[in-house]
């Protein structure tokens, strides 16, 4: 390599340092200075509510992840091992729940299993899924099952077809080939998906908040409560430090599994040739997959239908009209058009930041390929920082620096971009890692400066990755609720916050309509992501 551009890694390193690591470190430092180590230990051991929050996080995370793996694994195998019509469309469709705003999923659970839910009205026994821990787990599963399916499929595809065929010609039965050749990859994928879903579920915020209440608060929700209602920022900071440490092991395990999954994927020279659906086992896997896809479609359909036609009666579509009327404006403090504009603006700017950082980081990786591993680990660090912790630290450190509440919109954008960074950059990392330096070197030899060579040769090849990264960041920003809710002031309300506020004000038809609107916007972004033809990578 002749390029010398290692310096260009600085923007992304600096951004994460300034807007994530430093504020969080200062928050922890401040908490420890005020409370001391003894205070920290006491806050964890002496407070029954804090202990309860940890137990809730562990319980909700473990239960959600285990069930997601159990439900998602067969469909993941079906997706990764067999060829069937519409396979790539289904793969794309499975990204929808991941991109769904958490508050929409919460409302969807209430639509299905709540007091006047579509399902619970017909089958009252299933009303148990409308409240408390079962409801939280059900909501988590809406996000988690597709993630496990996609990771398991990736794991299945990481096994070499040649190896499997060789094993068969040596006498290995299909069961033995599963055990020896492709099974381990699928287990790896499912485990990686399991750990990621554990991370998501253990720090869930909207689900315990709406579906259960204080007795189900995760540590995430408890930190928010301590800061906003308990007026105990020191206690919140100390609890946040404990949460950070709590997340280290599952995050490390997830990254380790992801690394192994990538290594085995990249060592496979030819892509596997999935089999055709013939055997009874394949039919059983297909049935499970169809049932899951049907459930997701039913879930989305119900949210949309209920947003247009609330259970209490009224004209079809009336809630949507009211949403843009004076009632909603009075309730929210600003017109819904402005809420929508805020939502789109914040998400668009956050996505642009992520994209620019990705482009510059790509140049750095081209110049210094050895930076790759370190950089990818670094951009994963925000995974350790939960949305509430990020918002809390930004509010403590940056809000006074930037000049108070009028500039809170900057922090909302920053938080959305930091939270999207690890996921969005995944779409870029693989194409960037696979770039051949020869084209860039040829451009350099022909006289192009290194930046021009990068823009002319590498960037066009990762255009689809860039587009996916941008849209991914945009979609995550659209639906981001936790950090935004922590930071927001009425002027800067976003759609997901509006859904929660309207729900909290018991304006259910309006909340449903806002959720429906958010769903439609998210689906439009999904359609754009799908049009770009992304691979599901996390």
């Amino acid at each position: 390599m002749s390029l010398r551009g290692g310096w260009s890694v600085l923007p992304i390193v600096g951004y994460v340092l300034l807007f994530a690591l430093l504020p969080v470190a200062l928050l922890f430092g401040g908490g420890l200075l005020a409370g001391g180590w003894a205070g920290w230990i006491d806050s964890l051991t002496q407070s029954p509510l804090n202990r309860q929050a940890f137990e809730n996080s562990l319980e909700q995370g473990a239960l959600s992840a285990a069930l997601a793996v159990a439900i998602g694994y067969p469909a993941g195998v079906f997706l990764g091992r067999y060829t069937w019509p519409g396979r790539s469309a289904v793969r794309a469709f499975l990204l929808v729940p991941f991109l769904l705003p958490s508050i929409v999923v919460v409302l969807g659970i209430l639509d299905l299993f709540g007091p006047s839910g579509t399902v619970s009205s017909a089958l009252p026994a299933l009303g148990v899924l409308g409240h408390g821990l079962p409801a939280i787990v059900a909501a988590n599963l809406v996000f988690n099952v597709p993630i496990v399916i996609l990771f398991t499929a990736l794991g299945c595809e990481s096994a070499s077809a040649e190896l499997e065929e060789s094993a068969a010609t040596l006498g290995a039965s299909p069961a033995r080939a599963y055990r020896d050749v492709w099974g381990p990859g699928s287990w790896l994928g499912a485990a990686a998906g399991g750990f990621l879903t554990f991370l998501f579920s253990a720090v869930a915020f909207a689900t315990p908040l709406v579906l259960c209440g204080a007795r189900c608060y995760t540590v995430e929700a408890r930190i928010w409560y301590l800061d906003q209602y308990g007026f105990d920022p020191t206690g919140a900071a100390l609890l946040a430090l404990a949460l950070f440490l709590f997340l280290v092991i599952p995050t490390a395990l997830y990254l380790l599994l992801l690394h192994r999954l990538r290594s085995s994927s990249s060592s496979v020279r030819t892509r596997p040739r999935p089999g055709r659906v013939r055997s009874p086992l394949a039919y059983a896997l297909a049935a499970e997959t169809v049932a899951l896809l049907g459930a997701i479609a039913f879930f989305l359909g119900t949210v949309l239908y209920r947003s247009l036609s609330p259970p209490g009666g009224g004209t079809f579509g009336a809630p949507w009209t009211q949403l843009f009327g004076p009632t909603a404006t009075n309730l929210l403090g600003i017109p819904l058009v402005q809420v929508l504009a805020n939502t789109l603006f914040f998400a668009a700017v956050a996505a642009t930041i992520v994209l620019l950082l990705g482009i510059v980081a790509g140049y750095a990786l081209g110049a210094r390929p050895r930076l790759g591993t370190g950089l990818s680990l670094y951009v994963f660090l925000p995974l350790l920082i939960s949305p509430v912790l990020l918002a809390f630290s930004l509010a403590e450190f940056w809000r006074p620096v930037l000049g108070g509440e009028s500039t809170v919109w900057i922090l909302i954008i920053v938080s959305q971009s930091i939270l999207a960074l690890p996921f969005a950059l995944q779409s870029l990392q693989i194409p960037l890692a696979g770039l051949s330096p020869s084209a860039r070197d040829s451009a350099r030899v022909l006289g192009a400066p290194s930046w021009i060579a990068y823009l002319d040769t590498d960037l066009p090849r990762v255009r689809r990755g860039l587009r996916t990264a941008g849209l991914f960041a945009f979609a995550l920003g659209l639906g981001e609720f936790t950090a935004t809710y922590f930071l927001v002031t009425p002027n800067f309300t976003t759609l997901s916050v509006a859904v929660y506020d309207l729900q909290d004000l018991r304006q259910f038809p309006l909340a449903e309509a806002a959720a429906g609107l958010l769903l439609v916007v998210s689906l439009a972004v999904f359609a754009a992501v799908n049009y770009g033809g992304p691979r599901a990578e996390f």
Binding site: E165, S166, T169, L170, S173, V181
Partner: protein, 329 residues
């Protein structure tokens, strides 16, 4: 290679009227041939001719649309891959990662349920046969390409196949190692009496290794026979082209001749005029690339004593032995 086909023995492998489609695309059309125990059939054809699909259909990885595959007279239609007793060696050795060389070689006997002691003996014998003893504890990732292919052969042999299919196993091996390795493969497989189908797009390799050779073009088997016969008597113009013949249109058909049977005469001689495009030294002599007036690029091999033309000059092309093919209706 010098192993003759024992004509009295019944064939180990019989492929009859085999047709395979991938999706809606027909890839193989009514392919039939037999291979005797200990015999090596070289199946040659250009990329995309259906060679690999044919091997995959024989081993059971592709389902034929029509036709049968028989092993020792037994129809394999309903026999799954792992019970067929047919070994497959690929261009990539496809050794199991995170298993030692020994564990790779012992894999076949073990998954077939043979006792541990027997599997151990089989593995050691197979490794000895391919001269890889002493490598038992090595990680396959630390082996060279040739060593990996030797281990792959040992692994295949240890599984006791009646038939082995070789899918261009030497294609990724350095030229210096390749010649010796293919000789070793041939020797080991013949010694074990294993019927072998070896596919390659390399004409020289196919003709060198095969007891008999077959040419597969466009999914159809054009000819099967002794290497010299196939080489000297291609049945049609496409096969002649694949075998390296120069082909020129002539009347209602074509005339085909070998580059080594061609010569370049001075302008004014009787025969078609050609333009010299390039001249290069080959070791044994020189290769001259020329272009006919009708645009065909042709090759002429000249010996070292010949006076070489320069690029751009014109010559008259003549040849000694030739074949004539008529256009099919």
């Amino acid at each position: 290679m010098g192993v003759l086909v024992p004509s009295s023995e019944p064939p180990a492998l019989e492929v009859h009227d085999l047709s395979v489609s991938l999706g809606r695309t027909p890839v193989l059309d009514s392919v039939s041939f037999e291979v005797a125990p200990g015999e090596l059939l070289s199946l040659m054809g250009p990329n995309g001719s259906g060679k690999t699909t044919l091997l995959r259909a024989i081993v059971g990885l592709e389902r034929p649309a029509r036709g049968t595959v028989r092993l020792d007279g037994r129809d394999l239609r309903e026999v799954p891959v792992h019970r067929r007793g047919i070994g497959l060696l690929l261009q990539e050795a496809a050794l199991f990662p995170r298993r030692t060389v020994y564990e790779n070689v012992a894999y076949g006997p073990l998954v077939q349920g043979r006792p541990l002691a027997e599997a151990d003996t089989e593995a050691h014998q197979a490794l000895e046969l391919v001269r890889m003893q002493g490598f038992e504890e090595r990680d396959p990732a630390t082996l060279s390409g040739g060593e990996r292919q030797r281990v792959a052969l040992a692994r295949t042999i240890a599984a006791h196949p009646r038939v082995v299919l070789l899918d261009e196993p030497f294609a990724a091996i350095d030229a210096g190692v390749r010649a010796g390795l293919r000789g070793e493969f041939r020797h080991v497989l013949a010694e074990r009496g294993i019927a072998t189908v070896h596919v390659t797009h390399d004409r020289e390799e196919g003709l060198f290794l095969g007891d008999r050779v077959a040419i597969l073009l466009g999914g159809r088997l054009r000819t099967v026979g002794a290497p010299a016969t196939v080489h000297d008597e291609p049945p049609d113009v496409e096969t002649a082209r694949f075998l390296g013949y120069n082909v020129l249109p002539e009347g209602a058909g074509w005339v085909a001749f070998r580059p080594e049977a061609a010569r370049l005469d001075p302008v004014g001689s009787a025969g078609p005029s050609v333009e010299v495009l390039a001249v290069g030294f080959t070791g044994r002599g020189s290769l001259v690339v020329v272009r006919s007036t009708s645009g065909e690029r042709l090759e002429v091999e000249l010996d070292r004593a010949a006076v070489l033309p320069r690029p751009g000059e014109r010559r008259v092309l003549n040849w000694e032995r030739s074949l004539r093919f008529s256009r099919r209706a």
